[in-house]
């Protein structure tokens, strides 16, 4: 299974919310724009975090694909992990 995550830089507006959900996979630059450190996700844990980041991005800039097809983000990947 090849799951790939990338940030579309044309959509990213520097909210940096992705870094809250996927802190070890995303680098934030001095203006808040994110960049994925390693696009290929090898663990299920990393895939879960990337999907949460994708669901949380207000601009839909975090794109996750599996075998080249976009993975829909939403209900299966709740971002309210604290339960509130």
């Amino acid at each position: 299974m090849t799951t790939v995550v990338r940030i579309d830089p044309t959509l990213c507006r520097g909210h940096a919310i992705c870094a809250l959900y996927f802190s070890d996979g995303v680098e934030i630059d001095q203006w808040g724009f994110g960049r994925v450190v390693e696009p290929t996700l090898t663990t299920r844990r990393a895939v879960r975090k990337a999907l949460r980041a994708a669901a949380a991005c207000p601009n839909g800039a975090v794109v996750v694909t599996e075998h080249g097809e976009a993975v829909p983000v939403g209900a299966d990947h709740p971002t309210d992990t604290a339960g509130w």
Binding site: D8, T10, Q30, G32, F33
Partner: protein
């Protein structure tokens, strides 16, 4: 399985092959000069070559099916001449493997302000370009080719339009041609920007998870191929892949087109290098008698090399790669002794910063800051910690965009700081710059004001 021997035998009958060449002979010449291949024929000022004249000189294009064209591309090892150097055979194969009818676009826009090789081909040898494009169309199994140019280009637009009209009139091709004219901006000549523009009229680069050849903006595999690349194929189909490859070197098959700019006898002249020549051979053919101070290799997003290093360097991809450079768009910008590379680079970076399409945050925020840092380094109002600032900006800009525009600027800046270390030290120490009063060397357009005027989209449609 295609029998290449058949293909070679079929193509060997064409007389246009440069016969009797010694294997290591080097020729450098412009339009119509002896020893040239793509530029052979009428000289400058003769306008676009007519279809009849073209066919008289080159004979008809061999009729090849798709598999034969692909075999030809593989045998010749034709690399892309737009800047990336990606092998055309692999691009075509990727598009064929991706399913769905492909889209074929010829990129004749040549956004690089100092480069004129594609413009020269389109203006003077348009049928060679269209011949090669028709072959790629056969390889992809498509019957429609779009040739894209900048709308303000002038002579290249006339050349291609006339050639297309001639071929339509004579029923010369099975493919249908469309000439697409887009905005005159630097990044709107980028492959995804052209593919996008032809699709929906927005000439800004696109972010995509897959390469264009796998899935373009239309959802179909999209092959964007440079005008010189297809013209090379037009030659290769006639003289055969081995004879064609032998016109270059082992590491860089085929003849190469270059534009020389800066301190040469005729800046902006396009020359063809045939055989295993060095950068020095090319410059010696364009009025330089000794190594200049430095040479900008590969375009505005290219690499500076010191004059001595460049002079000795074989002009081929692998040899230039050892020096951290590449042929890029084929530009050699000659910096004379007495001019300051930091001043020249600051002008280029200022121009490139204004050419951002305004889409990606890091490019929008970072490039103007990098430009202003380079400009204060050039005018000597810079302190040492500014160098670390340039380093940090470079790290953040590299790979940050949907296209490679910021990467190219960073490459130029880093090669400047590396090659002109001594000048940087002198500028930091506040010494009088020797080149401050030197007139501008490279033809850098007036920068577009970043973030001013109409919204970015309006410049890109």
């Amino acid at each position: 399985m295609i029998d290449l021997a058949d293909l070679l035998a079929a193509s060997a009958q064409v007389s246009a092959a440069p016969g009797g060449r010694a294997p290591d002979a080097v020729a450098v010449g412009g339009l119509g000069d002896p020893g040239t291949v793509l530029l052979s024929g009428p000289g400058t000022g003769s306008g676009p070559e007519s279809l009849d004249a073209h066919l008289d000189r080159w004979a008809g294009l061999p009729v090849l099916d798709g598999a034969q064209v692909l075999a030809l591309l593989r045998a010749g090892g034709l690399d892309g001449r737009g800047g990336g150097g990606f092998p055309l055979a692999r691009k075509v194969a990727a598009a064929l493997a991706s399913g769905g009818p492909p889209v074929l676009l010829v990129n004749a826009s040549e956004s690089e302000p100092a480069s004129a090789k594609d413009a020269t081909l389109c203006a003077c040898r348009p049928h060679l370009v269209l011949d090669g494009a028709a072959l790629v169309a056969a390889a992809l199994g498509v019957d429609h080719v779009v040739v894209h140019l900048h709308r303000g280009a002038g002579a290249p637009v006339d050349g291609i339009s006339r050639a297309v009209a001639e071929r339509r009139g004579g029923g010369h091709d099975v493919v249908a041609w469309t000439v697409s004219l887009g905005p005159d901006r630097y990044v709107s000549g980028e492959a995804s920007a052209i593919a996008g523009y032809v699709h929906d009229g927005d000439a800004r680069p696109r972010f995509a998870m897959a390469p264009l050849a796998v899935e373009g903006p239309t959802g179909r595999p999209t092959v964007v191929v440079n005008a010189e690349t297809v013209a090379q194929l037009g030659v290769m189909a006639r003289i055969g892949p081995r004879a064609w490859a032998a016109l270059g070197t082992g590491g860089s098959p085929g003849p190469r087109l270059l534009t020389v700019a800066g301190a040469v006898d005729r800046p902006g002249r396009v020359v063809e290098l045939v055989g295993p020549g060095t950068v020095g051979d090319v410059l010696a053919g364009t009025g330089c008698t000794a190594a200049p101070a430095a040479v900008l290799v590969g375009g505005f997003a290219g690499t500076w090399l010191s004059g001595d290093e460049a002079w000795q360097a074989p002009y081929e991809r692998s040899a230039l790669a050892c020096l951290g450079a590449g042929p890029g768009c084929g530009l050699l910008g000659v910096l004379p002794h007495g001019a300051c590379a930091l001043v020249e680079t600051a002008r280029i970076v200022g121009y490139l910063a204004g050419e951002s399409a305004g889409q990606c945050g890091t490019c929008v925020a970072g490039l103007p800051r990098l430009a202003s840092a380079m400009s204060s380094l050039a005018d000597g109002t810079f302190r040492r910690r500014g160098l670390r600032r340039i380093e940090t900006l470079g790290d953040e800009l590299l790979g940050s965009g949907a296209c490679a525009h910021p990467d190219g600027v960073v490459r130029l800046v880093r090669s400047t700081l590396e090659v002109f270390r001594d000048d940087v030290v002198r500028h930091l120490a506040g010494e009088q710059c020797r080149g401050a009063d030197h007139p501008p060397v490279l033809p850098v357009p007036v920068p577009h004001p970043a973030g001013a005027g109409p919204r970015p989209q309006e410049h890109f449609s």
